[in-house]
Amino acid sequence: MEPTNTGHPDYFHKVVDCQWACPAHTDVPEYIRLIAQGRFTDAYMVNRHSNVFPGILGRVCDRPCEPACRRGRIEDKPVAICRLKRVAADHRDDVVSLLPKTPKRKNGKRIACIGAGCASLTVANDLLPLGYEITMFEQWGQAGGLMRTNIPSFRLPAEVLDEEIALIVDRGVDLRLGARIDSMQNLLDEGYDAVFVGTGAPKGKELDLPGRRAGAANIHIGIDWLESIAFGHIESIGRRVLIIGVGNTAMDCCRSALRLGATDVKVMARKPRQYFKASEWELEDAEEERVAIVINHSPKRFVIENGKLTGMAFDVLEYDLDAGGRITGERVLREEFVAADDVILAIGQENAFPWIESGLGIEFDKWHVPTVDLKTFQSTRPGVFFGGDSAFGPKNIIWAVEHGHQAAISIHNHCQGKSVADRLAPGVNLHSRKMGMHEWSYANDYNPAERRLMPHVSLKERFKKIDIEVELGFTVEQVAAEVQRCLNCDVQTVFSAKLCIECDACIDICPVDCLTMTPNGTEAELRGRLKAPAANLTQALYVSEPLKFTQRVMVKDEDLCVHCGLCAERCPTAAWDMQKSTILWPQAVDEAEADHKALARTA
């Protein structure tokens, strides 16, 4: 293998599994260390730099970081990254004075953001400090978008939402509430320098089965129903409720139903559990509340008697699975009737743009999804950008935030007359963590503690009101234990082949056998003959330059390194060093700074 190019910004970034998995590339280990030091405000600001809404995401993020967490490969359970984020948000001081200031003198460019959800808010957050004038249009009377309408308040309290939205809006957004945009043409005629569409995926999918129309009074579209609860339009539901679908919206629906008076709630799934779309922890939370999850039931028809819904008929299915767990065949065993007073459909949602006229140069594909560039988020009409669920269909908040960051860069470039595709590349900085003899400026000792369990409000208490937040947040003791589970994957093992005397000290001391000195070979062949076979192909091998005495190479399998630093501690020549990698993931402000520098050079 060729020596690993650790100068490439992606190499060490990938080693920090959580940060690489996070769409917004939040510097997770850094903020966990700050929490460990009790520096909650600083931890919050590290978060906010990347993900803008730490308080919200600390409660409801889909946490792509946690399945990626290295700890989950060493033990069973990853670090509770998401809930530690909430700790930073809950215990922070006022951060208003720490946020970038909005300049009094504007740069003369006006931007329209449609929708006041997480994507639009992120665009505003990034562009306000650069002097842009942001006008944000929201159809409802409150900002927040799907974060407000689709996430129940027992998971995300309204105060948390209000506070983090205010941190952006109060810095000078011209927020127009109750201002639904019905015509893109009209908006474009107003002469904005750029338009950002962040309207989400507000259309719930329909289930067109016999009886749908006759039973309409008791059949609800999940996201519309949740929206009505959020705005206080619905306050009750029948005793027996069926939820069709088993995604995260279904989980929010079934738990909301319990709080509106239902006592018998069943989530009806077509397939076995391993095919569920809902996150494992959301399923657990629903099951804790005694929601029944029924598998292998395929909806057949709504059963209506005397003009009223009495339940639903299902085909009970049986599946053939192959060795890999894939479905190879299915059979109907029988039909089954399940009684219900109300049925809620939670089988997906899509974006919808009835208000964008044809002939504007904004193209859609055959599924009515806009044609949007994956990197620049620009539509086929220059100056019109899409982000969040409206761009590529439903994902989750953290994706929408990153779309917002990227779209903000594009909007800046577009307004400054630069090519939107011409963007700053990511970078990486490395700094040694060596303090002195046997001292590293991070807690390098491996802590065998198990993942802390989030305490919940008792089952008796939590149903009394719709907005009692179920999760109580970690206690001080839990925080103290959980932060030490983080392996500090951003404190990288950096190797310098010319210093190595091939004494084997690092190899002997490595607790997880990730180091080997061996003759070089091809990657496939090397992976098989390391001290412990490197079976995880998603994790890189770090290969050194040839060593000076034997021409062998030092190979590190990044997969299970616990970043304990013992290789560096044991190295007599400091060929190994522990260096913190800081990933530089450019935002609009960095583009603006680069512009200034370029200008200063030419002047």
Partner: protein, 351 residues
């Protein structure tokens, strides 16, 4: 050294031996030697060897004298029996323990000072008695604990850290052991576990006195230019003469050893050492010729390494002394100690 202990966390797919133990289960306490010390690598090789042979930790005896090397017995097989003796007196303790219980596996770890200076006499007599043990010399050419004075294995012309040149000729433990008739003599290097681990395994399984002289650079006092025991010098001047593959009794021979340069030797327990000759004309079963070749190499500043001599059919200490087949500690007291009346009878024969 470090104050940071190796954490217990381990690679989840670490292989297990027939006892269900991983390599990590054969570790001992935290090493307090200098970072980069060759001795730590030898410790790792011993751990690997014990794991590979699936030794039950409670059946392992670790013996040592005084010195950096002698500290290392604390760093492997934490579940074994350990004895840290007076300087240079490890062979006596090994002798006594072995006499009392012949069923255990004895590993002695000593240094060039402990073996070749203060303990030279003890070393020689352990060989004469053909004590059934593995004797490892961690050889770095200096007294590390007392800050780097030349030891008895320092080569003529080698320089100390501050520049003094050694003028006294070295004692070579390999040649000495061969002269005294040791049946298993090997030399290796701490930085070459591929060679060292099979030698340690073979030495533990071999019946009789097995000695491995392991060149083990002292990273603090003897790893500079001008030293003949530095990592760099050793890497340049060590030459494998004969490598050994150790094949435990139960395992089938899978590699192809039919080539004329391989020689399988069956040990008393049925396991085999397959000798793979590397240096042309070197015969590890011909003691006289081997000694000549080793000496010739040394004159050219070349250290021949590997399985340098393997004798056959030697009788170990218990055979030489008509000892019972059972361990003495398993023989009932009455049988072991016939009592004062029997003693009187024996004494009467000399009156």
């Amino acid at each position: 050294m470090t104050f940071m202990a190796k954490p217990k966390v381990r690679h989840p797919s670490l292989p297990k031996n027939s006892l269900g133990l991983t390599r990590r289960d054969y570790e001992g306490s935290m090493s307090t030697l200098c970072a980069g010390c060759g001795h730590d690598s030898i410790t790792a090789a011993i751990i690997e060897s014990c794991w590979g042979l699936a030794l039950e930790p409670q059946n392992v005896v670790k013996l040592s004298g005084i010195g950096c090397s002698s500290k290392t017995t604390a760093y492997f097989v934490g579940g074994g029996h350990g004895f840290n003796s007076v300087h240079g007196r490890m062979p006596s303790i090994a002798m006594g323990a072995n006499a009392a219980n012949r069923d255990l596996t004895y590993i002695g770890v000593s240094g060039d000072g402990d073996t070749l200076s203060i303990g030279l006499g003890q070393f020689c007599h352990a060989i004469r008695r053909n004590l059934n043990m593995l004797y490892i010399i961690e050889n770095n050419g200096v007294y590390g604990l007392t800050k780097g004075q030349f030891s008895a294995s320092a080569d003529v012309g080698t320089q100390a850290k501050k520049g003094e040149v050694n003028r006294q000729p070295p004692i070579d433990p390999v040649l000495l052991a061969m002269t005294l008739g040791a049946p298993f003599v090997a030399r290796s290097f701490s930085g070459d576990k591929e060679q060292l681990v099979p030698l340690i395994q073979a030495g533990m399984r071999h019946r009789g006195f097995a000695i491995i002289d392991v060149l083990s650079p002292c990273v603090t006092f003897n790893d500079h230019e001008g030293s003949t025991k530095s990592y760099a010098y050793t890497r340049e001047h060590y030459d494998a003469a004969v490598n050994a593959d150790f094949i435990p009794f139960a395992r089938e021979i899978t590699a192809d050893y039919s080539a004329g340069e391989s020689l399988p030797v069956v040990l008393h327990d049925g396991s085999r050492i397959v000798l793979k000759k590397i240096a042309p004309g070197y015969d590890p079963t011909d003691r006289i010729a081997a000694m000549a070749q080793i000496q010739a190499g040394m004159q050219k500043q070349e250290f021949l390494t590997g399985m340098l001599y393997l004798g056959r059919g030697d009788r170990e200490f218990h055979d030489l002394n008509d000892m019972p087949q059972r361990a003495l500690n398993s023989i009932p007291y009455e049988q072991l100690t016939p009592g004062s009346r029997a003693m009187d009878k024996i004494l009467a024969r000399f009156r």
